[in-house]
Structure formats: C-alpha cells, structure tokens
Amino acid sequence: MLNYLIRRVLYAIPILIGVNLLTFALFFVVNSPDDMARMQIGVKRATPEAIERWKADRGYDKPMFVNAAAEGLDRFTDTLFFDKSLRMFALDFGRADDGRDISREILDRMGPSLAIAVPTFVLSLFVSVTLALLLVFFRATALDFWGVVMCVAMMSISSLFYIIGGQWLVSKLWALVPISGYAGGLDAFRFLALPVLISVLAGMGSSARWYRTIFLEEISRDYVRTARAKGLSELAVLFRHVLRNALIPILTGVVVVIPLLFMGSLLVESFFAVPGLGSYTIDAINAQDFAVVRAMVFIGSVLYIVGLILTDLSYTLVDPRVRLE
C-alpha cells in the first residue's frame, strides 16, 4: 500500500513537469514578453521604455533559459524559466499585477470557495443519487419516463440561465436572500443558500441521469436476481446490493473532483460576488494577469493528480477485491 502510494506520487512528478513545460511554452514561447507588454500597455502607447519598465516590474526582463551575464549557478537560476516556472514546485507563485503575493491571496480565498463548493458537492451527490434510485425503483413506468425527460431537459438548459433566473426569482422577486455578496461566520448562510441551491439544481439533470444508467446496468446482474430470489424486498435490494456495487463506477467520477473543490466555481462565484478562487481566476482572466492564471493552472493540475490518487485509494475502501500493489 505504502509502496503503491510512493510510486503514484513519484509518477505524478513527470506529469507536473509536463504541465509546467506546457504552461511555460504557452505563456513565454508562443508570445514573447515583449508582445504581452505591448498588448497590455496598448499598441499606441508602447514605447520601448514603457515595455522595458513593464517587463522589469514583473521580472520578465531576464533571459529565457541561460543567463550568460551571471556567474556560477546564477547562470541557470537567474532566468525566466527558473523564476516563473520551477519556483512553482515550491508553491512560490510570485506577485500578481496588483503587487500582492499570489500564494497569500490563494490561502485567503480558499475559505469562501470551499464554503460554497463543499455543501454543493455533498448536497448534489445526495440529491442526484436519491433521484436516480427513485427513478430506478419506478423503472419502466411513466414516472421513470418523465423523470428522464426532465433530466434531459434540465441538462439542456444553460447554467447561465439557472444563475440569472434564480437570482431574479429568489433575490429580486421574492427578496428572500441578498442578490450577491459574502460575509463570514453564521451570516454566511444567507449569502450561500442561493448559490448552493442553484449549483445543485444546475448539475442535477446530467448526474441523476448518469447514476440511473449505472444503477440500471447493475440491476440486470445475476447477483441482483439471486437477492430477489432470496425474497429480499426491492428496497433492500436497491440499497444493500445495487447501491453498494454501483459505488465503484460512481467513485471514479466523483472522488477525482474533491480536491478541485478548492478551486471553487468560476461562474457562481463571479455572479454572486464571492471572494473565492473562482472569482479570483475570472478577475485575472479579465485583467489579463498572466501570473495568476499560471499559478491557478499549476494548482489545478496538482489537485487533479491528488484526486487521481484518492480515487485509487477509495476503491480499496468500497471494493475489498481491489488491492493496491
């Protein structure tokens, strides 16, 4: 088990290096820092001095890989690649365009992101699985048919509509909760109720339908027939046998996203003005703050790889046949 874990972590390193090289190529090779400076300053005002100042402010005025002017180890450490790319492995992301430390900012904003993402995750898993079990219990009836039709209709609606419609109905028309904003402590509930509700609703259609397919696949297996033949009630079959066996395919899709909950949701956070990592990313995209986008890409990939490892571990919990060697 421990051996397996160590091997998985070691395997993650080349992947992270790949991600790192890819982002470096994307941000520094496709466009030279000069191009980016010209774009940000505005082509008309981009004098050579302004470009040099822009690059110096952000530490972009170094050579790409080898600094011929420096001595010793500095030849390789005083470069763009080392500064902007390799330092990320030490979770040192440098400064954003507004001068703040990105790592600090990320730590501060994780809380609000999690405050929305975790309840959304738990609640939507619960609601979708319940709904799917309900549809499977009433399979091949009118309820099942119309339930699936509802699911397909719900997944055909743009997530923007859920957010805009929900804000309009609940906050504006019924004035139940504030339209947007965020507060700490117990007060947070008033601000979080609507975004969580909307996120659950927006994701319900596709996930409930997906779980239903998994359950249906499981329900046609022989062990289910055996369980029924023993005289178990349909409910007992569903909960004790089908649900437990269906956990494996469900986990594959679900556990991987748990670490990514830290990143928050781009859309919901920006619509509800929640100061989380999602809105941080959106603001960075709109302000073309390349350093922040780069940092988020790196963190996202780290979290994804953690998710993959967690998925493997979770298999051993739900399926005793799986041994990690």
Binding site: F27, M155, S158, S270, I282, I285
Partner: protein
C-alpha cells in the same frame, strides 16, 4: 459580378463536414448493418423529431456560411474604374434577412412594441419639450393612429397558422404517397398508418416537429417585416436576427471542435492501443498531462495567448470577418485540445480489446502489414465510438460556448453568438423593469438546439453502442 464570394476557414471546414456526411450516407446505403443501425434511429419518435429540428438549424447555419462581399456602387465620375467590393462580409442569410438586419432602432424596444422602451426628452413640433416613449422607426409603422397592434398581430398570426396548415397538409399528402409506394398499399391506408404511428420510420413525430417548425417560420415571415418580433437590443438590432445569426456560431463550435481534433484522437488512440510498449507510454503521458490541467484554465490560458497573437499580427487578416473567424477557429482548436483526451482514451481501450480478437490475429497471421490492419480491421470497428463522441459532445460544446463568451474567453466580441448575446444582456439585468427579451431569446434558441442535440445523441448512442442492445 455583383458580388465576390468569400470562403472563411470555418466555411471550408463546415463544407468538408457536410461532404463527409454525404459520403457517409452513400457508404451507409451499401452496408446493411449500418443501415439497420440508422433505421433504428429513424424508428424512435424522439430521434426523428430531433433530427427534423436539427436539420432546420443546420439549414440556417449553411445559409449563413455562404459568404460574399457585395459590389460597391461606382464612385461618381469613376464609372470605368475596377469594381471595388465592400469590406463587409455578408452571407446568404444576411441577404435573405436584409429587412431585419437593416431596420435598426435607436435602442431597446420590447417585442411587438411600437415605441422605444425608455422615455426620452423630445422637442414637440409646437414648441416645448416632453418626456415620452418615442415611436419606433420600423416596428409597427404600418399601423394607423387609432389601430391597436394586438388586432393586427392576431390577424397576421391567423394567416401564418393558415399558411403553415396548408404547407403541412401538402407535406402530409406527399409523405403518404411516398409511404404508400414503399408499402405497396393505397395512400389512404398509408395516411392512416402515419396518423396512428404504425409506419416503420416514425413519420408521425417527424410531421409534428416539422409542423412546429413550419408554424414558427410562417409566423416569423408574416410578422417580422412589420414588427420586432423578439424586440431590439441595446444598439437597436433586431433580436430575432441576432438569434438566427448565433445558430451558425453554435454549430461551428459544436461540430468543428470535435472534427479538428478527430485525426489526432483517432490516430493516437488506435496507435496506443494497438502498438503498446513505449508508444502507448508516450501517448498516455501526453493525454494525462493535458487532462491534469482543469479544462477552463487551459482554455483561458490558451485563449489569452491567442488574443495576443491575433492582436500583434493585424496584417494577417484582410477583413474584420476574417479576424473573428480566425478567432472562432482557434477557439475550436483550443476546446478540441481539452476534449480529445476522453475520446483518445476510449479508442485506446477499444483497440486493446480488438487486437486480441480472432479476425485481427488472423490478419496478422496472414502477414498483413500493421497500417493495413489498422485501416481495414481496427478503424472500421471503432468508428461507432467516434460517431457517438461526435454527437454526444455537440450539446456540451454549445453550452460551453455561452459560458466561455460570458467569462470573456470565448468568441470575438464582434461575432454574433448566444454567448455574446447573453454577455451584452448582462448590463440590462439590473434595469428596472428588466429587459428580458434578448436574454430569453438566446436561452430559448439554445435550449431547443441543445435539447434536440441531446435527444438525437441518446438515440444514436442506443442504436450504435453494442453494450446497449
């Protein structure tokens, strides 16, 4: 020539896609198993209805993909000079909807309104000023002073219903005769079978879907020349026109994204599965790396960089349309990079299974070369996965376009799309009372398109996925 044809990159790719679909139809006709699978699609009522709705959207999209530059009228005194063409790129759809395109108002107006939405201070002819809703330049101007719009709209609506009913009756008769010839029965029998839904293919649901489309189209043809049926947006453009123009962008994103990455996904997936060894390792490594980056962030990073490239090389593009088209195509590529990994993994797994099957082993024993085996024995047997991926991805991509454009990393702001429509309407949300029509039009069009695509994808998957038989 009074116009100069223009071929944008996405046009070319769309036409290639259409040609591929045509070739596929010919291919399917000659192969009984494939024909049986497609017949299954046609037997399902939802499949037929969804296919009809999708065809209507495709028709709009194709009309909007035939681009040209109109000839400018010769300048006074230079009649003999070489003809010069407008820098504005139009499409056949633009020409057909010229009335809608050119009849712009000053700013917002509600559907069927005769006045602007906001009050404005106007100078009265007899002197003095007044705060009134100024009358529209085009919407409802044919009405007299005392006429009400409601009666006029109802009257024209009835005419539209009549026309649609006539069209549907004619279509019904033609279809009955066609079905009758296939069944070698009288057309009355065939008509009865269609009404009861007893035909092999689900013609009844196709007729219902076509009826709904015909009704919409007839109503639009009757009313749109006289009113702004879906209102106007901030700069006074007709929302119906914007919605119809958005269809092409949605279709381009939905289909070309999968299409442009298809060669890579198929080649790499099959190679990894069949060859194994270090090739498999390298390909797996590539798609794990791409997969590890959360999709939105990879798209954001790539789009930001693409913007810089496009902005720093203005000399590459002759017209604004070409620039926004290049950006649209680049967006397709970027979305493709993030979405091909799933298909590649599926193809790899399927090929792993196929290479152990008897017929592939036999081909290898006969000494068939690896490329031949891949082309003749493996590729045809994974094509159903490709087809299912193509139709399943479509709806997700159309929805993604709207979100990405909203976030600011989607299509060019000058490209008309559902995303830019929603983005433009964002400022109107806080307005009291709310300007709802352009948002609702974008959402409604998108919903119908995506719903049809989802239903169609489900039916195709049921017909082609061997595990679901």
């Amino acid at each position: 020539m009074t116009f100069q044809p223009v071929l944008l990159w996405t046009d070319i790719l769309l036409f290639i896609l259409l040609a591929a679909v045509g070739a596929m139809v010919l291919h399917v006709r000659g192969h009984e198993p494939l024909r049986a699978a497609w017949r299954k699609v046609g037997q399902r009522p939802t499949g037929m209805a969804a296919a009809c709705v999708l065809s209507a959207f495709v028709l709009i999209g194709v009309l909007d993909s035939l681009h040209y530059r109109p000839l400018l009228p010769p300048v006074e005194g230079q009649e003999n000079a070489a003809p010069s063409y407008s820098s504005e790129v139009l499409s056949v759809l633009d020409a057909a909807l010229a009335g809608l395109r050119l009849n712009t108002e000053k700013t917002y107006s509600a559907p069927f309104a005769r006045t602007l939405y906001q009050r404005e201070t106007v100078e009265l002819p007899q002197g003095g000023q007044a705060r009134i809703h100024p009358p529209l330049r085009h919407g409802g101007v044919h009405l007299g002073e005392g006429d009400t719009a409601t009666a006029d709209v109802a009257q024209r609506g009835l005419v539209a219903v009549g026309k649609a009913a006539l069209f549907m009756a004619a279509l019904f008769v033609v279809l009955s005769v066609a079905v009758a010839r296939g069944r070698r029965a009288g057309w009355v029998d065939a008509a009865r079978a269609i009404v009861r839904g007893h035909t092999t293919l689900a013609w009844r649901s196709a007729l219902i879907a076509l009826g709904a489309i015909a009704l919409m189209a007839a109503a639009a043809f009757e009313l749109a020349p006289y009113y702004h049926v879906l209102g106007t947006d901030k700069v006074g453009q007709d929302v119906l026109y914007l919605s119809l123009k958005s269809v092409r962008t949605a279709l381009v994103i939905g289909t070309l994204t999968t299409l442009v990455m298809l060669p890579f996904a198929v080649a790499l997936g099959i190679a990894a599965g069949y060859l194994g060894g270090w090739v498999d390792d390298v390909i797996q490594y590539i798609y794990t790396v791409l997969n590890a980056i959360p999709g939105v962030l990879l798209i954001a990073a790539a789009v930001l960089m693409m913007q810089v490239v496009i902005d720093t090389h203005p000399q590459w593009f002759a017209t604004a349309a070409e620039r926004s088209d290049a950006r649209l195509l680049a967006l397709c590529f970027i979305l493709g990079i993030t979405s091909w990994t799933g298909l590649c993994r599926l193809l790899r797994a399927e090929t792993l299974k196929l290479r152990e099957l008897e017929y592939v082993q036999a081909a290898r024993a006969f000494g068939a070369s690896t490329p031949t085996i891949l082309r003749r024995h493996v590729l045809p047997n994974v094509m159903h996965i490709v087809l299912i991926a193509l139709v399943m991805d479509f709806s997700g991509l159309v929805l993604a376009e709207a979100v990405l454009s909203y976030v600011g990393i989607g299509v060019d702001p000058t490209t008309i799309s559902f995303g830019t429509m929603i983005n433009m309407a964002r400022a109107e949300l806080a307005r009291e009372p709310m300007v709802w029509w352009s948002l609702m039009a974008a959402f409604a069009f998108m919903f119908v398109l995506v719903l049809a695509a989802n239903l169609f994808a489900d039916v195709v998957r049921d017909a082609f996925d061997p595990r679901r038989r």
